[in-house]
């Protein structure tokens, strides 16, 4: 079975470590915050200028001056700090964020990522995504493995305009956890009940399968 959105978030959360500063993109990445393991301290960075993002506010706590990068009202966690946008991206560009999780339309065997623009359709912009992929060493891309029509999103070459070049090393899809190195995809884990054959069939870029591929554990 392909992973649900919640399971994708749960699997990403297994990559968290105590003391990590983490930037979570909009969508599935945001859900990762719900699965931070008990007893682990993780601080969430929101690129509009908040380190130590808390949960959503109650009605009584809503503050128009306190939002996250998705423009949602939020609260601050204990030990939070506030800064301007230049400082925020100094953290990101300077490689100070330990883990970045974001979505994509396509990735390819050379670690290229396309996530912000489909030509001919409405172009909304890259927001902070280009800075995040260029600045972070440890990035996990979360995405569906293929389109509804079975067209692979893990390619030998991205077809859409790039968000970043040669910067992605790990991809978690609804079918598989994949590492990118030496110009190839490497299959690390498969979703429970999903066969290696199924993954191979839906991966257009070269996929290396070494030995038995373990199932993800939840």
């Amino acid at each position: 079975m392909a992973l649900t959105r919640e399971q994708l978030a749960q699997r990403v959360a297994q990559e968290l470590q105590d003391g990590y500063y983490v930037n979570l993109g909009i969508g599935i990445p945001t859900l990762v915050a719900n699965y931070i393991p008990e007893g682990m301290e993780v601080m969430l960075q929101s690129e509009n200028g908040l380190l130590g993002m808390g949960q959503f506010p109650t009605e009584a706590e809503i503050d128009a001056d306190l939002i996250n990068a998705g423009k949602q009202t939020v609260t601050m966690a204990k030990g939070a700090s506030i800064f301007d946008s230049a400082e925020s991206f100094a953290m990101i560009r300077g490689g100070h964020v330990d883990l970045t999780v974001l979505g994509a339309f396509e990735v390819d065997v050379n670690g290229n990522i396309a996530s912000y623009m489909i030509p001919g359709k409405l172009i909304k912009g890259m927001g902070g995504a280009m800075d995040l992929v260029a600045g972070a060493d440890n990035i996990i891309v979360t995405m569906t493995h293929a389109s509804k029509h079975g067209v692979s999103k893990l390619l030998s070459n991205c077809t859409l305009p790039l968000t970043g070049k040669g910067c992605i090393k790990k991809v978690l899809t609804d079918l598989a956890f994949i590492e990118i190195k030496h110009g190839k995809f490497y299959l690390l884990e498969r979703a429970p009940g999903v066969s290696v054959d199924e993954i191979v069939k839906l991966t257009e870029g070269e996929l290396v399968v070494e030995g038995e591929t373990p199932e993800m554990k939840f």
């Binding site: 109650t58 128009a64 001056d65 909304k124 800075d131």
Partner: protein, 234 residues
């Protein structure tokens, strides 16, 4: 006005001198920390042909979006746009020029503009459409592109508190692009929720020193929320 007193008493005075085809840098992220009354004054004045530099472009009836119906904006430099129907229509019809700029690059362009740095190298955007036509250089085996700084004829800024000398304090994430915008305008206009006397703000707590500020005005703010998200109170 005398000495270092930057306070003006009307929005008309605050935006005096803004002319057609000028460049305006605006603070704010989404609708948070936007200089909402200064934007309304630009609408009222009817200035057109503007190049606007801002992370976003408001929504249909609030923020920079209100400058769209009368085509007051010729070009926008932003990282994320299209939260409003009129913007989408003008962009698709080629009536509005849009220069998409990565968010961190945009912040740094403003910072550099205000700090006398004409351009800077960044890895952000290398190998993407953003790099087209830009100088590339390698440092320690990594690729970077040269990004020019941005300066504005006007900068419009929203702060929380100020003293009459224009020393500014921002509140929570309403700070965002405002401090950089404040440094990058030939004329920087700031609207605030409270003005106090010089000496009343703790010098250690000032985010933007008054040297960057030319005009200061006291406003009242709607502070509209774009994505009201709550948890159930358990």
């Amino acid at each position: 006005m005398a000495g270092f007193d930057k306070v003006v008493s009307s929005y008309e005075e605050a935006m005096a001198g803004l002319e057609d085809n000028m460049t305006v840098i605006a603070g704010g992220f989404g609708l948070c920390g936007i200089p909402e009354n200064l934007i309304s004054e630009i609408k009222r004045k009817g200035t057109t042909g503007l190049t606007v530099v801002s992370n976003n472009c408001g929504v249909d009836d609030f923020g920079l979006g209100i400058l769209l119906p009368k085509r007051q904006i010729k070009k926008i430099i932003a990282s994320y746009v299209g939260e409003n129907a009129e913007f989408e229509r003008q962009m698709m019809n080629g009536e509005l020029e849009v220069e998409l700029t990565p968010q961190g690059t945009l912040a740094e362009k403003m910072r550099a503009g205000g700090a006398g740095i004409p351009a800077f190298f960044t890895a952000t955007g290398y190998g993407t459409p953003v790099a087209e036509g830009k100088e590339e250089r390698e440092f320690d085996g990594r690729h970077y592109i040269l990004e020019p700084a941005i300066k504005g004829d006007f900068a419009i800024v929203k702060a929380w508190k100020a003293d009459r000398y224009g020393n500014l304090v921002f509140r929570k994430t309403a700070r965002n692009f405002n401090p950089m915008a404040a440094t990058a305008g030939k004329i920087t206009v700031v609207e605030v929720e409270e003005i106090v006397e010089p000496g009343e703000l703790d010098p250690d707590q000032i985010h933007t020193p008054g040297i960057y500020v030319n005009r200061l005005i006291l406003g009242t703010f709607e502070k509209r929320i774009e994505q009201r998200t709550v948890r159930s109170d358990t």
